[in-house]
Amino acid sequence: MQKAIGRQKGLSAEKLWKVFGAVLFGYLFLGFMVIPCFNTLISVFSVKDASGKTDPFAVIRFFFSGTMPSFVWNSVKLALCLIVTVNVVGISIVLLTEYFDIKGAKILRLGYMTTLIYSGVALVTGYQFLYDNDGILTSWLAQTFPGMNRQWFSGFYAVLFTMTFACTSNHALFLRNAIRGIDYNTVEAARNLGARPFKVLFKVVMPTLLPTLFSLTVMTFITGLCAMSAPTLLGYDSINPEIVRLAGSSAADESFPQARAALLSVILAMFTIILLTTLNHYERKGHYLSVSKTKQKLQKQKIDNPVYNVLAHIYAYVLFIIYMTPVVMIVVFSFQNWQAIQSKTLSGFTFINYFGTEDYTYTRSNGKQKVVADAISGLFANNKTVGGIRLSFIMSAIAAALTCVIVVLVVNYIFKNKHSKKSRVAEACLLFPWLLPTILICYSYRIYFNDNIWYVFSKNLYYRENVQILIIIAYTVVKLPFALRMIKAAFYAIDDELEDAARNLGASSLVTFLRVKLPIVLPSVLAVFALNFNALFTEYDMGATFQSSHGTTYAMVIQSMTDEEGRNGFNRNATGRRCASTVFIMIVSGIILYLVYGVGARDLAERLALKEKRGRIIARLTGRKPKEEKAA
């Protein structure tokens, strides 16, 4: 409300920058969010019949007369079942590690959180390594039960099983925080009033977790609906894989595949919009907040009944085994040679799946020996894999950085113009991709930009290497809403008076932003960068939708790694390299999460204290006095 005096000098330049910023923002929003998606929507109703006349409802008629509803139903079925299974597993892992007194809870927690460091295609291939027809567990089981169906791990149940454990990461993060926020005094009060432990759990603890659970349920439903890697790799006909298949199909093969793909994307978008609007409405009603001024830390509850206690322990450790087995197997077998992997028995330790190459010699049908040069290659020695890593690394880093820059600038504008309509519009624009499924955005890009579009310098962005620009744009757009929510939250931490203080001390708007505001939000911005990079580095859905030989991402490389394993003597250790890839992803994700939640979360006081501690240790080791003492 207050009309503050602007800086007299450079006012016109500032205005010019504002106009330039608004034009650029409008160009990006319309050009890369609205127009391509609108084009997809239009394409549903612009199908031409055999006579060349537009038949607006042809696809819709086709939808109801053909097999298309089954894809929608399959996706909805998967999403509905996931809600149940993910919540059961997710709630139990949080209760087992945070609420009930279970022996070895710290170890269990580490096991349950492994999905944080590997997910998507890496996790699915990890599960395949264990359970598919040639998987370790399947092979061991087949030896014990020779009559068993080796193809048991495929289709709906395989997808449900894999995604159940893959999707508990959010429970591990958010539900854990929610349960830690409960005031222990309320539990004690309930016990004091005569409630038994399970009564307390259901009547006192669970109701406070309901808002978080509701959000998690909606997010799980959307994840199930938009599932891509698990259905694709484990063979389940759901919406997303079908959209990708149709996008790659032509009118010569089947009836209007593009329009059908567009219709499926729009159906997915409608589901997402309805669910997110419901979630938003529910969130606005507010959460249960602790009214306690002297909050007590939650204490673990002992399960008094010995039978229940034993059952809870058994359940906890069975889950632990399910979570940990793929991880352990992948790590162990990534250090095994191809023969050991093929025979599912351990032999000597080797780094060949990571570094270096080896030739492979085999006997041909005519009895002659053939040597295939470099048929065995490590993760960092295989051109295709290194190419995938390099491309994903560059594209993810650029997109993650772009996202942060755009969001920081827009949020800074929003906070400077808190009550203006313009800032509300800017915020809504950045949240827009949240309403659209990733597949709709990517599919729209793939179709719309597969032409010379005037506003991108009349270039075809889906053509050859240009697709990399398109993927970077898609990565950026898709990550904007998450970045906005996180960075906006960080900006709330900036006291308005800090800006006033800096201005009073003579700092310009730019200096105030760079030296006062940015350092405050920088840990959050870097965290968003790291988390987005982490997610994009092994991203599968978008890479699969673009399906381009010039844009083969790391996840696509991992997926295709074993396709030609051993054929004609080539690519002998593909499975081992895939294991090594998953280990590499776990290490990268682990480091990023450590940097974000460990190092990045430290404030200046903690950093200074650490520096002092380091100084003392070095001084003790070297026998020199610390700088501070010298100065004194």
Partner: protein
């Protein structure tokens, strides 16, 4: 030193300040006192340059600074939250303004060291993050940061409001001592009357965008210009009903008396009105005792020094004394 003439500030249709006229003298500790939303912070922000008045002028040392940018006004500010930059050390916080002015490194260092010595911040504290300091130490950093650029005046916006009662009293004294030592003109904003009375050379009492009275603490307390000032500063008893008639006070005016001016069982003073009363309750504060006395159908609050001898119980009959000279009367 600083002069506000006919300052009017509007936020949309709402007029926050109506013709404000203030003259702060050099070296003076001047306080803007008033309840929330009365316009005191708006006036301060007009002086510092964060708000542009619709009309009127702000002059400093005779020079019109109404439209001078914030950073060129040579006014130091200590904010309510202190607004210390959390990502910088104490040293860097203090040096910030000097670095912006692009002073030579050595000079910056010298000035930081000098001001740190004056506000009693140690070398150890200079290296710390601001979050590692106590509330009192943070206040010193905020003052040092505001003073190091050698401003002509310093403005403080409720700098003690976030502190607990004991620390507030302690820092209040430190603040006054520092101001005396530096001899700098200070404008201080507060809603705490006790703070205003103890710290200030002069006080401007604000109400609904107007200044009700400007005067020394003694003037605003003992000779409150308006009913609002009398009500806002200190505690008062309204004189109503039968007491009005007994004291022959003008019924067309409002009459008040401060709590400490009413006596209980004291020797009669010349011209004093003596009334019979009954103690309703007694609140023990240690240094003094606050009585509620029913007197001619009216409840009077009275503060008596705790001398350990004259202590009255509820239900006890007493004689209440009111001197006509202590009555403050205002038009209705």
């Amino acid at each position: 030193m600083i002069r506000l003439d006919d300052i009017v500030v509007r936020f949309g249709d709402f007029e926050a300040l109506h013709n404000i006229n203030v003259h702060v003298k050099e070296g003076e500790f001047f306080t803007f006192l008033g309840p929330s939303g009365c316009g005191k912070t708006t006036t301060l922000r007009t002086i510092t340059g964060f708000i542009e008045p619709v009309s009127g002028t702000v002059k400093m040392k005779g020079k019109d600074i109404t439209h001078v940018p914030i950073e060129k006004r040579a006014i130091g500010i200590v904010f309510q939250s202190y607004a210390l930059f959390p990502t910088m050390t104490v040293h860097d916080n203090i040096a910030f303004g000097l670095k912006i002015k692009k002073l030579p490194k050595q000079e910056i260092e010298n000035r930081v060291q000098e001001i740190a010595r004056k506000v009693e911040l140690s070398q150890e504290q200079l290296k710390k993050a601001v979050a590692q300091l106590s509330g009192g130490q943070q206040q010193r950093v905020a003052i040092a940061r505001a003073l190091v650029t050698e401003p002509d005046i310093i403005c403080m916006d409720e700098p003690l409001s976030n502190l607990d009662a004991k620390l507030r009293v302690q820092l209040r004294n430190e603040l006054k001592n520092m101001q005396r030592e530096f001899g700098i003109t200070t404008i201080y904003v507060t809603h705490d009357q006790e703070e205003a009375l103890t710290l200030s050379d002069r006080i401007a009492v604000f109400n609904k965008g107007y200044i009700e009275q400007i005067g020394t603490p003694n003037e605003v307390y003992n000779h409150s210009a308006t009913e609002f000032v009398a009500n806002f500063i200190g505690d008062i008893n309204p004189i109503e009903g039968d007491i009005l008639g007994k004291m022959a006070l003008n019924p067309n005016q409002h009459h008040f008396i401060r709590l400490e001016r009413v006596t209980v069982n004291h020797e009669e003073r010349p011209g004093e009105c003596r009334l019979q009363g009954v103690i309703e309750s007694a609140e023990y504060y240690g240094l003094y005792i606050k009585y509620s006395i029913r007197c001619m159908g009216q409840r009077l609050k009275v503060i008596e020094k705790n001398d350990g001898i004259r202590i009255y119980e509820a239900g006890q009959e007493v004689v209440v004394g009111i001197a006509p000279g202590d009555i403050m009367s205002y038009p209705v």
